[in-house]
Symmetry: C2
Subunit: 307 residues, 2 copies
């Protein structure tokens, strides 16, 4: 009977957003603003170019990038190509990045110019390196106008591999399935309270567990991603005010940056701040609440062993 069920995959979130809310804002990244229809088209284009670059089903594609439009597109476009996304922690050493590229057998490494520049002295076991700031448009030119299906045959196929930060040895890869990513994204959507009107600020790195699957959860609600390249108080508060941000996430250190920035001020609109990792101190909790924000602390309900 399993064959009667449509496989679960976050790809369906973007397919739906593009059909039901084609003209609403999907992503803001600096001066760039795209709709759900355009986000879907960008993912299709990337997927086509990835395939035509010789990346096969289940092969890996690595990104070493800040929280930018291209990395968000990759969360849909790479799996749409049938490939697996490896979003690499930008704070790792060049040797660790090289290790992850090799260990994951990544075929292509995409990256921010300055992040790639730091890799000049290491050997990279990839077929190709694409600079997102200078070579991305040319890469996309390999793609053709095709409509790949927003679907997978097997929902337990791998969608991403995320590496640990290597504090207890070499980074270890964790495989996420399409099914797991879909379900976790729905959980994030509910607990963060995303609706179609939400505007989510990317204070959490997309490379960190795919932004707790918020890369997909925001789009599941057909809401708006607001990109943020670096966690600085001025930029955060500028976007909260100018882009009417009402949701953001972060470790306690991000909360401290938010609360202690010179630009910090009492909010006149709702803002939901979700934190996880180490518990925030009572001081930080008080600071966030004093801003007029709602603080949500996520915790693990229970982990079940399989079978």
């Amino acid at each position: 009977m399993a064959g009667l069920d449509t496989p679960l995959t976050p790809l369906r979130f973007l397919e739906r957003a593009a059909e039901v809310h084609p003209d609403s804002e999907a992503v803001v990244d600096g001066d760039r603003r795209i709709t759900h229809r355009e986000l879907a088209a960008a993912a299709q284009r990337l997927a086509s170019a990835v395939r035509r670059s010789g990346v096969g089903e289940g092969e890996r594609v690595a990104f070493l990038a800040t929280n930018r439009l291209e990395l968000l597109v990759a969360h849909f476009g790479v799996p749409l190509a049938g490939a697996v996304l490896v979003a690499v922690n930008t704070r790792l050493s060049p040797q660790e990045v090289a290790y992850i590229c090799e260990h994951s057998s990544s075929r292509i490494l995409f990256g921010d110019s300055d992040l790639l520049a730091a890799l000049d002295d290491v050997d990279l076991a990839v077929s190709e390196v694409v600079d997102l700031d200078t070579g991305y448009a040319e890469f996309l030119d390999r793609g053709i106008d095709e409509q790949l299906p927003w679907d997978v045959e097997d929902e337990t196929a791998t969608i991403t591999v995320n590496y640990t930060s290597g504090t207890t040895g070499r980074p270890k890869g964790v495989m996420y399935t399409h099914r797991g990513a879909y379900l976790n994204a729905l959980g994030e959507m509910h607990h963060q309270g995303f609706t179609h009107d939400s505007r989510y600020l990317w204070t959490l790195p997309m490379f960190h567990c795919n932004g707790w699957c918020t890369t997909w959860a925001v789009t599941a609600a057909a809401a708006t991603h607001v990109c943020l390249r670096a966690v600085r108080g001025e930029a955060i508060w500028g976007l909260i005010d100018d882009e009417r941000v009402d949701h953001l996430c972060g470790a306690p250190t991000v909360l401290t940056t938010l609360a202690t920035a010179p630009e910090a001020h009492h909010l006149d609109r709702p803002l939901t701040v979700v934190t996880a990792g180490a518990p925030p101190s009572p001081t930080v909790v008080g600071q966030i609440r004093d801003l007029g924000a709602t603080l949500v602390q996520t915790c693990r309900w229970r982990v079940r062993e399989p079978g």
Copy 2:
């Protein structure tokens, strides 16, 4: 790899609600108020009694009941017993009810006293009939204190069979799977906007597609069910006011009852009204909005053929 995934089932919603929010209100039915811990215990007790009455894995248990606590408990307790719930439309003729009992091979028929009384002249192909108003406590006495697992081995197993209303011939049975019910409930939770604080009024019959899966969706959010035995304006408005209801669903006819009741008045709190089926007329849409309620009309995005 599928074996590594925990099977999807709405049973997990109640397990979680009872663990995370044990003391918050799960159901209000007239003077009866129970918490999530008590709802979980009631489902366990029913499941135990159903099993000890000889109902085997995958066998069917029918309910001919109004929107009462016992029918809500049955949405969890019957599947918890490994059995399949058949919630019968209370507006069908005695012959149609008898047909559904026979066609579904239901082992037990539970029902409201007055609904069962109407079946006196028909042959019922069930082993046992239990009157929810006079014989339910005695039935539960067969159960023992056991903790059945909130789990299924196969998520594609049937959880309920819902029959059509027979407008084009005999009623036809539609099988819902644990997986389908789980996913549809999450969809309802999102689109109706249920949170832990929501208070949902049962203007929609629970027998109608399991209340659009809202029987499970409200509990998925660890929110509160407010039962309603009959759709009458006075009762609806009494519960909206006294029980601080903020969500309800119904076909356009329910909306008309809501808007045209003598007790209707402008709301001083948010109320989300979700409608489906025939589109509501502009008059009804205007009336609902004039109350200060938010109207959500659900529509089918797209039906995909398998494979």
